[in-house]
């Protein structure tokens, strides 16, 4: 991967991330499981899980994911399932978002912070476009920048009542914007290395409950900012073929800065 990065072989680098993007995620989910349910139930579930090795073909990974989410759905109630999945399973260090916490503390209100965050993200994408750099796993075009610019829910959030609404940026925004069908849109929306290949040919469906894992990733920056494990609800998802991955974070009881 490092070699491809150095050589500016963007397509190869992005292709490799499809394999490596899920590193440690299942292990982290099982670790969280042990915190949510008792030892006996944890052991029962863990005994039925065989974690795919790094480099497993991408279509085989989706078969694993399908079995895994079905197992979790059969063994956990809805509340437990959400708690287990909606966490920082990519193990991003808190420190990554400490600077955001400082920006929030300096902002006059949460709304002002969200507006500033969105502006900064648009500027970041613009910089990547101008320097022809891959932004995480995608190429940035003027159309992608415009798409993000038009909706503050993307790469930031919109506050309504005591809730934050967030729409995830698609995995491949350029292709998503050019997609002709809902199925194509779903494929280009999905970031998940454990699920997205199933959206290519739709040989079977993976339960959209799996997307609570993505919800955990989505809410983590706000968990850090508010030093809380915030409740999250999935409103729409790629696996549900809903045309967007959209989440609602409940800030009830959080003493956030109001205008």
């Amino acid at each position: 991967m490092r070699y491809f990065k150095m050589m500016d072989m963007h397509e190869h680098f992005i292709h490799m991330t499809k394999y490596t993007g899920g590193l440690g995620v299942i292990e982290s989910i099982l670790k969280k499981l042990a915190k949510v349910v008792n030892e006996e139930r944890t052991k029962d579930i863990m005994s039925q899980v065989k974690i795919p090795v790094l480099g497993t073909p991408l279509h085989e990974i989706t078969q694993f994911t399908n079995g895994f989410i079905q197992l979790l759905e059969s063994k956990l109630d809805e509340k437990e399932l959400r708690r287990v999945l909606a966490d920082n399973h990519h193990q991003i260090p808190k420190e990554v978002y400490m600077q955001e916490k400082i920006y929030y503390e300096k902002a006059p209100s949460l709304e002002a912070y969200l507006k500033d965050l969105h502006d900064r993200k648009v500027a970041e994408l613009t910089n990547h476009y101008e320097e022809n750099k891959v932004w995480f796993e995608q190429h940035i075009t003027p159309e992608v920048i415009e798409y993000v610019k038009q909706n503050q829910e993307v790469m930031s959030a919109v506050l309504e009542g005591d809730s934050l609404y967030i729409t995830k940026i698609p995995y491949d925004t350029k292709a998503f914007l050019e997609a002709k069908t809902q199925d194509e849109q779903a494929y280009y929306l999905c970031h998940c290395p454990f699920a997205r290949e199933v959206l290519k040919d739709n040989p079977f469906k993976i339960s959209s409950n799996w997307c609570y894992c993505s919800g955990g990733f989505t809410k983590f920056p706000f968990d850090v900012i508010f030093d809380a494990d915030l409740p999250i609800e999935m409103l729409s998802s790629a696996l549900g073929h809903d045309g967007a991955c959209r989440f609602k974070i409940d800030l009830t009881g959080i003493d956030y800065k109001k205008v």
């Binding site: 991967m1 490092r2 070699y3 150095m6 050589m7 072989m9 397509e11 190869h12 292709h15 490799m16 394999y19 490596t20 090795v53 790094l54 480099g55 497993t56 073909p57």
Partner: protein
Amino acid sequence: MNDKGLREWYELNHLKDVDTAISFIKEMDQYVITQCSSSLDHMTLSDLDKVIAYLIETNRNTVLC
């Protein structure tokens, strides 16, 4: 194989065992040349999948990153 890329790759990553790193990349390059009639610098994504399968077969998939 591109010498500039190779040199930058190991310098960037401050690899302790440079010889091993170079030998690994060269082995991968040779694999792609023999199996895909290409080279590491010009291979297709489907060739890359073959390399990944080869690394799994030889129990070296952890070096993917």
